[in-house]
Subunit: 292 residues, 2 copies
Protein backbone atom coordinates (compact mmCIF):
# COMPACT_ATOMS: atom_id res chain seq x y z
CA UNK A 1 0.00 0.00 0.00
CA UNK A 2 1.46 3.31 -1.02
CA UNK A 3 1.86 6.03 1.53
CA UNK A 4 0.23 8.59 -0.75
CA UNK A 5 -0.30 11.48 1.54
CA UNK A 6 1.55 12.08 4.71
CA UNK A 7 -0.24 11.51 7.96
CA UNK A 8 -0.72 14.43 10.29
CA UNK A 9 3.00 14.51 10.99
CA UNK A 10 4.59 11.12 11.27
CA UNK A 11 8.14 12.25 10.84
CA UNK A 12 10.00 15.24 12.08
CA UNK A 13 13.67 15.91 12.24
CA UNK A 14 15.44 16.18 15.53
CA UNK A 15 16.18 19.71 16.49
CA UNK A 16 19.76 18.74 17.23
CA UNK A 17 22.52 20.87 15.80
CA UNK A 18 23.62 18.18 13.41
CA UNK A 19 22.32 18.91 9.94
CA UNK A 20 22.56 15.24 9.14
CA UNK A 21 20.39 14.17 12.04
CA UNK A 22 18.10 11.30 11.13
CA UNK A 23 14.38 12.06 11.02
CA UNK A 24 12.73 11.48 14.37
CA UNK A 25 9.09 10.49 14.41
CA UNK A 26 6.61 12.63 16.30
CA UNK A 27 6.00 9.55 18.42
CA UNK A 28 9.71 9.33 19.17
CA UNK A 29 9.89 13.04 20.01
CA UNK A 30 7.08 12.59 22.50
CA UNK A 31 8.49 9.34 23.88
CA UNK A 32 11.88 10.96 24.45
CA UNK A 33 10.38 14.06 26.01
CA UNK A 34 11.05 14.59 29.72
CA UNK A 35 8.27 13.49 32.05
CA UNK A 36 8.07 17.06 33.34
CA UNK A 37 6.77 18.18 29.95
CA UNK A 38 3.56 16.26 30.63
CA UNK A 39 0.78 16.86 33.12
CA UNK A 40 -1.81 14.35 34.27
CA UNK A 41 -5.39 15.35 33.53
CA UNK A 42 -7.06 16.65 36.68
CA UNK A 43 -9.81 14.16 37.62
CA UNK A 44 -11.89 17.04 38.95
CA UNK A 45 -11.94 18.59 35.46
CA UNK A 46 -12.11 15.48 33.32
CA UNK A 47 -15.43 14.22 32.00
CA UNK A 48 -16.17 10.68 30.83
CA UNK A 49 -19.11 10.59 28.42
CA UNK A 50 -20.00 7.01 27.53
CA UNK A 51 -21.62 6.27 24.17
CA UNK A 52 -22.57 2.82 22.92
CA UNK A 53 -19.51 3.02 20.64
CA UNK A 54 -17.06 3.96 23.38
CA UNK A 55 -15.90 6.73 25.68
CA UNK A 56 -15.49 10.40 24.91
CA UNK A 57 -13.12 12.18 27.32
CA UNK A 58 -13.44 15.93 27.76
CA UNK A 59 -11.01 18.17 29.62
CA UNK A 60 -12.79 21.14 31.17
CA UNK A 61 -11.30 24.65 31.14
CA UNK A 62 -12.05 26.27 34.52
CA UNK A 63 -9.41 28.94 33.91
CA UNK A 64 -11.51 30.36 31.07
CA UNK A 65 -15.07 29.49 32.09
CA UNK A 66 -15.09 29.00 35.88
CA UNK A 67 -18.83 29.42 36.36
CA UNK A 68 -19.85 27.26 33.41
CA UNK A 69 -17.42 24.53 34.42
CA UNK A 70 -18.69 24.57 38.03
CA UNK A 71 -22.24 24.38 36.73
CA UNK A 72 -21.53 21.52 34.34
CA UNK A 73 -19.91 19.61 37.18
CA UNK A 74 -22.95 20.21 39.40
CA UNK A 75 -25.25 19.05 36.60
CA UNK A 76 -23.15 15.93 35.99
CA UNK A 77 -23.05 15.05 39.68
CA UNK A 78 -26.80 15.45 40.04
CA UNK A 79 -27.37 12.97 37.22
CA UNK A 80 -28.76 15.65 34.90
CA UNK A 81 -27.06 14.13 31.87
CA UNK A 82 -28.09 10.53 32.56
CA UNK A 83 -29.84 9.09 29.52
CA UNK A 84 -29.08 12.18 27.51
CA UNK A 85 -28.48 11.95 23.78
CA UNK A 86 -26.73 13.44 20.79
CA UNK A 87 -29.59 15.21 19.07
CA UNK A 88 -27.80 17.16 16.36
CA UNK A 89 -24.90 16.44 14.02
CA UNK A 90 -24.38 19.08 11.35
CA UNK A 91 -21.74 18.31 8.76
CA UNK A 92 -18.56 20.37 8.97
CA UNK A 93 -19.89 22.07 12.09
CA UNK A 94 -20.97 20.52 15.39
CA UNK A 95 -22.28 17.49 17.26
CA UNK A 96 -24.59 18.59 20.07
CA UNK A 97 -26.10 16.76 23.04
CA UNK A 98 -28.67 17.41 25.71
CA UNK A 99 -30.83 15.82 28.39
CA UNK A 100 -34.28 14.50 27.55
CA UNK A 101 -36.72 17.28 26.71
CA UNK A 102 -38.39 18.71 29.78
CA UNK A 103 -35.87 17.42 32.33
CA UNK A 104 -35.65 19.79 35.29
CA UNK A 105 -32.41 20.59 37.02
CA UNK A 106 -31.97 19.58 40.66
CA UNK A 107 -28.56 21.15 41.15
CA UNK A 108 -26.77 24.05 39.54
CA UNK A 109 -28.20 26.83 37.45
CA UNK A 110 -30.51 26.78 34.47
CA UNK A 111 -28.63 29.61 32.77
CA UNK A 112 -25.52 31.63 33.52
CA UNK A 113 -23.97 34.93 32.63
CA UNK A 114 -21.84 34.47 29.51
CA UNK A 115 -18.13 33.80 29.85
CA UNK A 116 -17.21 34.57 26.25
CA UNK A 117 -13.89 36.15 27.18
CA UNK A 118 -12.11 37.37 30.30
CA UNK A 119 -9.38 39.75 31.39
CA UNK A 120 -5.84 38.72 30.58
CA UNK A 121 -4.39 37.59 33.87
CA UNK A 122 -1.63 35.32 35.07
CA UNK A 123 -2.72 32.31 33.05
CA UNK A 124 0.09 30.77 30.99
CA UNK A 125 0.13 31.75 27.34
CA UNK A 126 2.46 30.28 24.72
CA UNK A 127 2.12 32.79 21.92
CA UNK A 128 2.12 31.60 18.33
CA UNK A 129 3.99 34.12 16.18
CA UNK A 130 2.03 33.20 13.06
CA UNK A 131 -0.68 35.52 11.72
CA UNK A 132 -4.31 34.59 12.38
CA UNK A 133 -7.36 35.60 10.38
CA UNK A 134 -9.63 36.21 13.34
CA UNK A 135 -7.65 37.45 16.35
CA UNK A 136 -4.79 39.87 17.03
CA UNK A 137 -2.82 37.22 18.93
CA UNK A 138 -3.23 33.44 19.20
CA UNK A 139 -1.49 30.74 21.18
CA UNK A 140 -2.05 28.07 23.82
CA UNK A 141 -2.99 28.27 27.46
CA UNK A 142 -3.09 25.29 29.79
CA UNK A 143 -3.51 22.89 26.90
CA UNK A 144 -6.19 24.85 25.08
CA UNK A 145 -6.02 26.93 21.89
CA UNK A 146 -6.64 30.54 22.83
CA UNK A 147 -6.53 34.12 21.60
CA UNK A 148 -5.77 37.51 23.06
CA UNK A 149 -6.53 41.11 22.33
CA UNK A 150 -3.63 42.89 24.07
CA UNK A 151 -5.14 46.32 23.47
CA UNK A 152 -8.39 45.47 25.21
CA UNK A 153 -6.59 43.12 27.64
CA UNK A 154 -9.04 40.26 26.93
CA UNK A 155 -8.45 36.57 26.29
CA UNK A 156 -10.69 33.72 25.10
CA UNK A 157 -10.64 30.13 23.89
CA UNK A 158 -10.83 29.53 20.13
CA UNK A 159 -13.23 27.27 18.21
CA UNK A 160 -10.84 24.62 16.94
CA UNK A 161 -11.65 21.02 16.10
CA UNK A 162 -12.74 19.16 19.23
CA UNK A 163 -13.50 22.22 21.34
CA UNK A 164 -16.63 21.95 23.48
CA UNK A 165 -19.03 24.85 24.01
CA UNK A 166 -22.23 25.66 25.85
CA UNK A 167 -25.13 26.16 23.45
CA UNK A 168 -27.40 29.12 24.00
CA UNK A 169 -30.45 30.91 22.66
CA UNK A 170 -30.42 34.44 21.27
CA UNK A 171 -29.65 36.02 24.62
CA UNK A 172 -25.94 36.00 25.51
CA UNK A 173 -26.76 34.81 29.01
CA UNK A 174 -29.09 31.99 27.99
CA UNK A 175 -26.45 29.24 28.06
CA UNK A 176 -25.01 27.59 31.13
CA UNK A 177 -23.99 24.08 30.14
CA UNK A 178 -27.26 22.16 29.89
CA UNK A 179 -26.63 21.68 26.18
CA UNK A 180 -23.13 21.15 24.89
CA UNK A 181 -21.57 20.77 21.46
CA UNK A 182 -18.22 19.73 20.03
CA UNK A 183 -16.69 21.15 16.83
CA UNK A 184 -16.44 18.39 14.19
CA UNK A 185 -15.19 20.29 11.11
CA UNK A 186 -13.35 23.35 9.90
CA UNK A 187 -12.86 25.66 12.86
CA UNK A 188 -15.92 27.98 13.05
CA UNK A 189 -13.91 30.86 14.46
CA UNK A 190 -16.83 33.23 13.88
CA UNK A 191 -18.28 31.63 17.03
CA UNK A 192 -15.34 32.89 19.13
CA UNK A 193 -16.58 35.33 21.77
CA UNK A 194 -20.15 34.38 20.87
CA UNK A 195 -20.31 31.17 22.88
CA UNK A 196 -18.76 30.13 26.16
CA UNK A 197 -16.24 27.42 25.40
CA UNK A 198 -15.89 25.06 28.33
CA UNK A 199 -13.29 22.48 27.30
CA UNK A 200 -11.93 20.13 24.69
CA UNK A 201 -12.42 16.51 23.66
CA UNK A 202 -9.07 14.86 24.36
CA UNK A 203 -10.05 11.29 23.47
CA UNK A 204 -12.83 9.74 21.39
CA UNK A 205 -13.40 12.62 18.96
CA UNK A 206 -13.85 10.08 16.17
CA UNK A 207 -16.92 8.72 17.95
CA UNK A 208 -18.60 12.11 17.57
CA UNK A 209 -17.23 13.15 14.17
CA UNK A 210 -18.27 9.93 12.44
CA UNK A 211 -21.91 10.03 13.53
CA UNK A 212 -24.53 10.12 10.80
CA UNK A 213 -25.45 13.69 10.03
CA UNK A 214 -28.95 14.75 11.08
CA UNK A 215 -31.32 15.25 8.14
CA UNK A 216 -33.22 18.15 9.70
CA UNK A 217 -32.55 21.86 9.77
CA UNK A 218 -29.15 22.65 11.29
CA UNK A 219 -28.39 18.94 11.47
CA UNK A 220 -31.03 18.05 14.08
CA UNK A 221 -32.36 14.52 13.78
CA UNK A 222 -36.01 14.54 12.80
CA UNK A 223 -36.57 11.10 14.28
CA UNK A 224 -35.57 10.70 17.95
CA UNK A 225 -34.87 7.05 17.20
CA UNK A 226 -31.78 8.29 15.34
CA UNK A 227 -30.34 9.97 18.44
CA UNK A 228 -27.14 8.51 19.82
CA UNK A 229 -27.70 7.51 23.43
CA UNK A 230 -25.31 8.80 26.06
CA UNK A 231 -25.25 6.03 28.60
CA UNK A 232 -23.75 8.03 31.42
CA UNK A 233 -21.66 11.09 32.09
CA UNK A 234 -19.28 11.18 35.05
CA UNK A 235 -16.38 13.18 36.37
CA UNK A 236 -13.18 11.14 36.55
CA UNK A 237 -12.93 12.20 40.21
CA UNK A 238 -16.15 10.31 40.92
CA UNK A 239 -14.85 7.10 39.38
CA UNK A 240 -12.77 4.79 41.60
CA UNK A 241 -9.11 5.68 41.05
CA UNK A 242 -8.35 2.24 39.68
CA UNK A 243 -10.98 2.69 36.98
CA UNK A 244 -9.80 6.09 35.75
CA UNK A 245 -8.04 6.45 32.43
CA UNK A 246 -4.45 7.43 33.25
CA UNK A 247 -4.24 10.21 30.66
CA UNK A 248 -1.63 12.93 30.50
CA UNK A 249 -1.37 15.93 28.22
CA UNK A 250 1.70 17.55 26.74
CA UNK A 251 2.23 20.87 28.52
CA UNK A 252 1.75 23.70 26.06
CA UNK A 253 4.37 25.70 27.97
CA UNK A 254 7.01 22.96 27.56
CA UNK A 255 10.12 22.77 25.39
CA UNK A 256 8.73 19.66 23.72
CA UNK A 257 5.60 21.52 22.67
CA UNK A 258 7.71 24.36 21.32
CA UNK A 259 9.69 21.83 19.28
CA UNK A 260 6.47 20.24 18.06
CA UNK A 261 5.12 23.59 16.84
CA UNK A 262 8.36 24.39 15.06
CA UNK A 263 8.39 20.98 13.40
CA UNK A 264 4.95 21.75 12.03
CA UNK A 265 5.96 25.12 10.66
CA UNK A 266 8.96 23.66 8.88
CA UNK A 267 8.27 20.15 7.66
CA UNK A 268 11.50 18.27 7.25
CA UNK A 269 10.08 14.92 6.22
CA UNK A 270 11.15 13.86 2.75
CA UNK A 271 7.54 13.72 1.63
CA UNK A 272 7.19 17.50 1.93
CA UNK A 273 8.35 19.54 -1.05
CA UNK A 274 7.25 22.86 0.33
CA UNK A 275 6.98 24.21 3.85
CA UNK A 276 4.96 27.32 4.53
CA UNK A 277 7.03 28.21 7.61
CA UNK A 278 3.74 28.94 9.36
CA UNK A 279 1.12 27.10 11.33
CA UNK A 280 -2.48 27.89 12.24
CA UNK A 281 -3.62 27.82 15.87
CA UNK A 282 -6.20 25.14 14.97
CA UNK A 283 -3.63 23.06 13.06
CA UNK A 284 -1.30 22.39 15.98
CA UNK A 285 -1.81 18.93 17.51
CA UNK A 286 -2.30 18.85 21.28
CA UNK A 287 -1.04 15.41 22.30
CA UNK A 288 -2.73 13.41 25.02
CA UNK A 289 -1.51 9.91 25.86
CA UNK A 290 -1.81 7.12 28.39
CA UNK A 291 0.47 8.00 31.29
CA UNK A 292 3.71 6.09 31.50
CA UNK B 1 -36.12 22.60 21.03
CA UNK B 2 -33.86 25.53 21.67
CA UNK B 3 -31.79 26.93 18.86
CA UNK B 4 -28.67 26.97 21.00
CA UNK B 5 -26.01 27.70 18.48
CA UNK B 6 -26.54 29.33 15.16
CA UNK B 7 -26.31 27.20 12.07
CA UNK B 8 -23.63 27.98 9.54
CA UNK B 9 -25.39 31.19 8.66
CA UNK B 10 -29.13 30.95 8.55
CA UNK B 11 -29.83 34.62 8.71
CA UNK B 12 -28.17 37.57 7.12
CA UNK B 13 -29.34 41.09 6.68
CA UNK B 14 -30.04 42.46 3.27
CA UNK B 15 -27.33 44.75 2.06
CA UNK B 16 -29.97 47.33 1.18
CA UNK B 17 -29.37 50.90 2.27
CA UNK B 18 -32.11 50.72 4.85
CA UNK B 19 -30.63 50.22 8.29
CA UNK B 20 -33.93 48.78 9.39
CA UNK B 21 -33.99 46.11 6.73
CA UNK B 22 -35.39 42.85 8.03
CA UNK B 23 -32.96 39.94 8.27
CA UNK B 24 -32.86 37.94 5.08
CA UNK B 25 -31.97 34.28 5.31
CA UNK B 26 -29.03 32.98 3.33
CA UNK B 27 -31.54 30.81 1.53
CA UNK B 28 -33.55 33.91 0.65
CA UNK B 29 -30.45 35.76 -0.52
CA UNK B 30 -29.63 32.88 -2.85
CA UNK B 31 -33.23 32.47 -4.01
CA UNK B 32 -33.46 36.16 -4.87
CA UNK B 33 -30.11 36.18 -6.64
CA UNK B 34 -30.17 36.72 -10.40
CA UNK B 35 -29.92 33.56 -12.49
CA UNK B 36 -26.76 34.98 -14.07
CA UNK B 37 -24.98 34.66 -10.72
CA UNK B 38 -25.15 30.89 -11.08
CA UNK B 39 -23.39 28.54 -13.47
CA UNK B 40 -24.40 24.97 -14.29
CA UNK B 41 -21.77 22.38 -13.45
CA UNK B 42 -19.98 21.28 -16.62
CA UNK B 43 -20.89 17.60 -17.20
CA UNK B 44 -17.42 17.03 -18.67
CA UNK B 45 -15.88 18.02 -15.33
CA UNK B 46 -18.41 16.57 -12.94
CA UNK B 47 -17.84 13.17 -11.35
CA UNK B 48 -20.52 10.93 -9.84
CA UNK B 49 -19.07 8.53 -7.29
CA UNK B 50 -21.73 6.13 -6.07
CA UNK B 51 -21.44 4.65 -2.58
CA UNK B 52 -23.93 2.26 -0.99
CA UNK B 53 -25.12 5.23 1.11
CA UNK B 54 -25.61 7.60 -1.82
CA UNK B 55 -23.87 9.72 -4.42
CA UNK B 56 -20.82 11.91 -3.96
CA UNK B 57 -20.51 14.62 -6.63
CA UNK B 58 -17.09 16.10 -7.36
CA UNK B 59 -16.39 19.13 -9.52
CA UNK B 60 -13.01 18.87 -11.22
CA UNK B 61 -10.66 21.85 -11.56
CA UNK B 62 -9.06 21.68 -15.02
CA UNK B 63 -7.97 25.32 -14.76
CA UNK B 64 -5.58 24.38 -11.96
CA UNK B 65 -4.66 20.78 -12.72
CA UNK B 66 -5.28 20.21 -16.45
CA UNK B 67 -3.12 17.10 -16.77
CA UNK B 68 -4.37 15.42 -13.61
CA UNK B 69 -7.98 16.16 -14.51
CA UNK B 70 -7.51 14.77 -18.04
CA UNK B 71 -5.90 11.68 -16.55
CA UNK B 72 -8.62 11.13 -13.96
CA UNK B 73 -11.22 11.39 -16.73
CA UNK B 74 -9.34 8.84 -18.82
CA UNK B 75 -9.11 6.53 -15.83
CA UNK B 76 -12.82 6.91 -15.07
CA UNK B 77 -13.82 6.28 -18.69
CA UNK B 78 -11.66 3.17 -18.88
CA UNK B 79 -13.42 1.69 -15.84
CA UNK B 80 -10.32 1.97 -13.69
CA UNK B 81 -12.33 2.99 -10.62
CA UNK B 82 -15.00 0.30 -10.96
CA UNK B 83 -15.26 -1.67 -7.72
CA UNK B 84 -12.82 0.65 -6.03
CA UNK B 85 -13.13 1.39 -2.32
CA UNK B 86 -12.53 3.88 0.43
CA UNK B 87 -9.52 2.37 2.14
CA UNK B 88 -8.54 5.09 4.60
CA UNK B 89 -10.46 7.48 6.83
CA UNK B 90 -8.27 9.41 9.24
CA UNK B 91 -10.09 11.58 11.76
CA UNK B 92 -9.83 15.32 11.23
CA UNK B 93 -7.83 14.71 8.06
CA UNK B 94 -8.85 12.76 4.93
CA UNK B 95 -10.96 9.99 3.40
CA UNK B 96 -9.02 8.26 0.62
CA UNK B 97 -10.04 5.83 -2.09
CA UNK B 98 -8.34 3.66 -4.69
CA UNK B 99 -8.84 0.78 -7.12
CA UNK B 100 -8.30 -2.80 -5.99
CA UNK B 101 -4.64 -3.54 -5.25
CA UNK B 102 -2.75 -4.60 -8.37
CA UNK B 103 -5.19 -3.22 -10.92
CA UNK B 104 -3.38 -2.13 -14.06
CA UNK B 105 -4.33 0.94 -16.00
CA UNK B 106 -5.60 0.54 -19.57
CA UNK B 107 -5.89 4.25 -20.34
CA UNK B 108 -4.13 7.34 -19.10
CA UNK B 109 -0.91 7.58 -17.16
CA UNK B 110 0.30 5.78 -14.09
CA UNK B 111 1.95 8.92 -12.72
CA UNK B 112 2.18 12.55 -13.80
CA UNK B 113 4.36 15.55 -13.26
CA UNK B 114 3.09 17.45 -10.22
CA UNK B 115 0.69 20.36 -10.70
CA UNK B 116 1.11 21.84 -7.22
CA UNK B 117 0.84 25.40 -8.45
CA UNK B 118 0.90 27.29 -11.73
CA UNK B 119 1.61 30.72 -13.16
CA UNK B 120 -0.97 33.38 -12.44
CA UNK B 121 -2.83 33.82 -15.70
CA UNK B 122 -6.19 35.07 -16.84
CA UNK B 123 -8.20 32.85 -14.51
CA UNK B 124 -10.80 34.74 -12.49
CA UNK B 125 -9.79 35.55 -8.93
CA UNK B 126 -12.06 37.11 -6.32
CA UNK B 127 -9.57 38.23 -3.73
CA UNK B 128 -10.41 37.98 -0.05
CA UNK B 129 -9.02 41.01 1.78
CA UNK B 130 -8.72 39.11 5.07
CA UNK B 131 -5.32 37.96 6.36
CA UNK B 132 -4.41 34.30 5.95
CA UNK B 133 -1.95 32.28 8.01
CA UNK B 134 -0.47 30.34 5.12
CA UNK B 135 -0.50 32.41 1.90
CA UNK B 136 0.21 36.01 0.89
CA UNK B 137 -3.16 36.29 -0.88
CA UNK B 138 -6.28 34.10 -0.80
CA UNK B 139 -9.58 34.17 -2.65
CA UNK B 140 -11.77 32.19 -5.01
CA UNK B 141 -11.32 31.15 -8.60
CA UNK B 142 -13.99 29.45 -10.66
CA UNK B 143 -15.77 28.17 -7.58
CA UNK B 144 -12.66 26.93 -5.78
CA UNK B 145 -10.77 28.34 -2.80
CA UNK B 146 -7.36 29.43 -4.00
CA UNK B 147 -4.23 31.35 -3.09
CA UNK B 148 -1.69 33.51 -4.87
CA UNK B 149 1.86 34.63 -4.40
CA UNK B 150 1.94 37.86 -6.41
CA UNK B 151 5.69 38.24 -6.05
CA UNK B 152 6.42 34.84 -7.54
CA UNK B 153 3.39 35.08 -9.86
CA UNK B 154 2.11 31.64 -8.78
CA UNK B 155 -1.38 30.44 -7.87
CA UNK B 156 -2.73 27.22 -6.32
CA UNK B 157 -5.84 25.65 -4.82
CA UNK B 158 -6.09 25.52 -1.03
CA UNK B 159 -6.80 22.50 1.19
CA UNK B 160 -10.22 23.44 2.55
CA UNK B 161 -12.94 21.06 3.74
CA UNK B 162 -14.19 18.97 0.81
CA UNK B 163 -11.25 19.59 -1.48
CA UNK B 164 -10.08 16.55 -3.44
CA UNK B 165 -6.42 15.80 -4.11
CA UNK B 166 -4.25 13.22 -5.84
CA UNK B 167 -2.30 11.14 -3.33
CA UNK B 168 1.36 10.51 -4.01
CA UNK B 169 4.46 8.80 -2.68
CA UNK B 170 7.60 10.64 -1.60
CA UNK B 171 8.46 11.77 -5.11
CA UNK B 172 6.61 14.93 -6.16
CA UNK B 173 5.78 13.36 -9.51
CA UNK B 174 4.48 10.06 -8.14
CA UNK B 175 0.81 11.06 -8.11
CA UNK B 176 -1.48 11.27 -11.11
CA UNK B 177 -5.01 10.56 -9.89
CA UNK B 178 -5.10 6.81 -9.31
CA UNK B 179 -5.62 7.44 -5.61
CA UNK B 180 -7.72 10.37 -4.46
CA UNK B 181 -8.65 11.83 -1.10
CA UNK B 182 -11.08 14.38 0.27
CA UNK B 183 -10.43 16.67 3.24
CA UNK B 184 -12.84 15.80 6.10
CA UNK B 185 -11.61 18.05 8.92
CA UNK B 186 -9.78 21.21 9.80
CA UNK B 187 -8.13 22.50 6.63
CA UNK B 188 -4.63 20.92 6.42
CA UNK B 189 -3.16 23.94 4.68
CA UNK B 190 0.36 22.57 5.18
CA UNK B 191 -0.49 20.27 2.25
CA UNK B 192 -0.92 23.26 -0.08
CA UNK B 193 1.69 23.11 -2.85
CA UNK B 194 2.61 19.62 -1.70
CA UNK B 195 -0.22 17.78 -3.41
CA UNK B 196 -2.03 18.36 -6.68
CA UNK B 197 -5.58 19.33 -5.82
CA UNK B 198 -7.96 18.26 -8.57
CA UNK B 199 -11.41 19.40 -7.46
CA UNK B 200 -14.01 19.68 -4.72
CA UNK B 201 -16.88 17.61 -3.36
CA UNK B 202 -19.97 19.69 -4.11
CA UNK B 203 -22.59 17.22 -2.87
CA UNK B 204 -22.50 14.21 -0.54
CA UNK B 205 -19.59 15.30 1.67
CA UNK B 206 -21.46 13.93 4.69
CA UNK B 207 -21.26 10.44 3.18
CA UNK B 208 -17.45 10.62 3.35
CA UNK B 209 -17.03 12.59 6.57
CA UNK B 210 -19.27 10.29 8.62
CA UNK B 211 -17.48 7.07 7.71
CA UNK B 212 -16.02 5.05 10.54
CA UNK B 213 -12.37 6.01 11.07
CA UNK B 214 -9.84 3.37 10.10
CA UNK B 215 -8.12 1.78 13.10
CA UNK B 216 -4.74 1.36 11.40
CA UNK B 217 -1.80 3.70 11.00
CA UNK B 218 -2.82 6.93 9.26
CA UNK B 219 -6.46 5.83 9.34
CA UNK B 220 -6.10 2.88 6.97
CA UNK B 221 -8.53 0.05 7.61
CA UNK B 222 -6.70 -3.04 8.76
CA UNK B 223 -9.52 -5.30 7.60
CA UNK B 224 -10.52 -4.93 3.93
CA UNK B 225 -14.03 -6.00 4.94
CA UNK B 226 -14.33 -2.55 6.54
CA UNK B 227 -13.71 -0.75 3.25
CA UNK B 228 -16.59 1.25 1.84
CA UNK B 229 -17.37 -0.01 -1.64
CA UNK B 230 -17.52 2.47 -4.48
CA UNK B 231 -20.11 0.98 -6.78
CA UNK B 232 -19.22 3.01 -9.83
CA UNK B 233 -17.58 6.25 -10.86
CA UNK B 234 -18.78 8.12 -13.92
CA UNK B 235 -18.50 11.49 -15.56
CA UNK B 236 -21.84 13.30 -15.73
CA UNK B 237 -21.21 13.72 -19.46
CA UNK B 238 -21.35 9.94 -19.87
CA UNK B 239 -24.71 9.67 -18.12
CA UNK B 240 -27.85 10.19 -20.25
CA UNK B 241 -28.79 13.87 -19.97
CA UNK B 242 -32.11 13.01 -18.36
CA UNK B 243 -30.32 11.15 -15.57
CA UNK B 244 -27.86 13.90 -14.69
CA UNK B 245 -28.22 15.89 -11.49
CA UNK B 246 -29.14 19.45 -12.54
CA UNK B 247 -26.67 21.17 -10.21
CA UNK B 248 -25.55 24.76 -10.41
CA UNK B 249 -22.93 26.61 -8.42
CA UNK B 250 -22.92 30.20 -7.23
CA UNK B 251 -20.37 32.10 -9.31
CA UNK B 252 -17.55 33.23 -7.08
CA UNK B 253 -17.15 36.31 -9.28
CA UNK B 254 -20.80 37.34 -8.76
CA UNK B 255 -22.35 40.16 -6.73
CA UNK B 256 -24.32 37.60 -4.74
CA UNK B 257 -21.12 35.85 -3.70
CA UNK B 258 -19.59 39.15 -2.70
CA UNK B 259 -22.66 39.85 -0.55
CA UNK B 260 -22.44 36.39 0.96
CA UNK B 261 -18.79 36.90 1.95
CA UNK B 262 -19.56 40.27 3.49
CA UNK B 263 -22.49 38.81 5.42
CA UNK B 264 -20.07 36.28 6.92
CA UNK B 265 -17.56 38.89 7.94
CA UNK B 266 -20.19 40.95 9.69
CA UNK B 267 -22.85 38.77 11.22
CA UNK B 268 -26.05 40.74 11.62
CA UNK B 269 -28.25 38.00 13.00
CA UNK B 270 -29.55 38.72 16.48
CA UNK B 271 -27.84 35.59 17.81
CA UNK B 272 -24.39 37.06 17.21
CA UNK B 273 -23.03 39.30 19.95
CA UNK B 274 -19.65 39.82 18.35
CA UNK B 275 -18.54 39.94 14.74
CA UNK B 276 -14.85 39.59 13.91
CA UNK B 277 -15.23 41.54 10.67
CA UNK B 278 -13.09 38.90 9.03
CA UNK B 279 -13.53 35.55 7.35
CA UNK B 280 -11.16 32.71 6.55
CA UNK B 281 -10.86 31.37 3.00
CA UNK B 282 -11.90 27.92 4.26
CA UNK B 283 -14.87 29.32 6.20
CA UNK B 284 -16.73 30.80 3.24
CA UNK B 285 -19.58 28.56 2.02
CA UNK B 286 -19.58 27.77 -1.70
CA UNK B 287 -23.26 27.14 -2.48
CA UNK B 288 -24.33 24.47 -4.97
CA UNK B 289 -28.04 23.81 -5.56
CA UNK B 290 -30.43 22.01 -7.84
CA UNK B 291 -30.91 24.18 -10.92
CA UNK B 292 -34.16 26.08 -11.11
Amino acid sequence: MKRLIAAAGLLIFTLAASASAAPLSLGDLLTRSPAADWRPLDPENTVYMDLPSGRVVIELAPAFAPNHVANIKALIRSGYFDDSAIVRVQDNYVAQWSAPEGRRITAGHDTLKAEFDRPIGREPFARLADPDTYAPVVGFSGGFPAARDPRRRRTWLTHCYGMVGAGRDDSADSGGGKELYAVIGQSPRNLDRNVTLVGRVVQGMELLSSLRRGPGEMGFYTNPADHTAIRRVRLAADVPAADRLPLEALRTDSATFKALVQSRRFRKEGWYKYSPGRIGVCNVPLPVRAAH
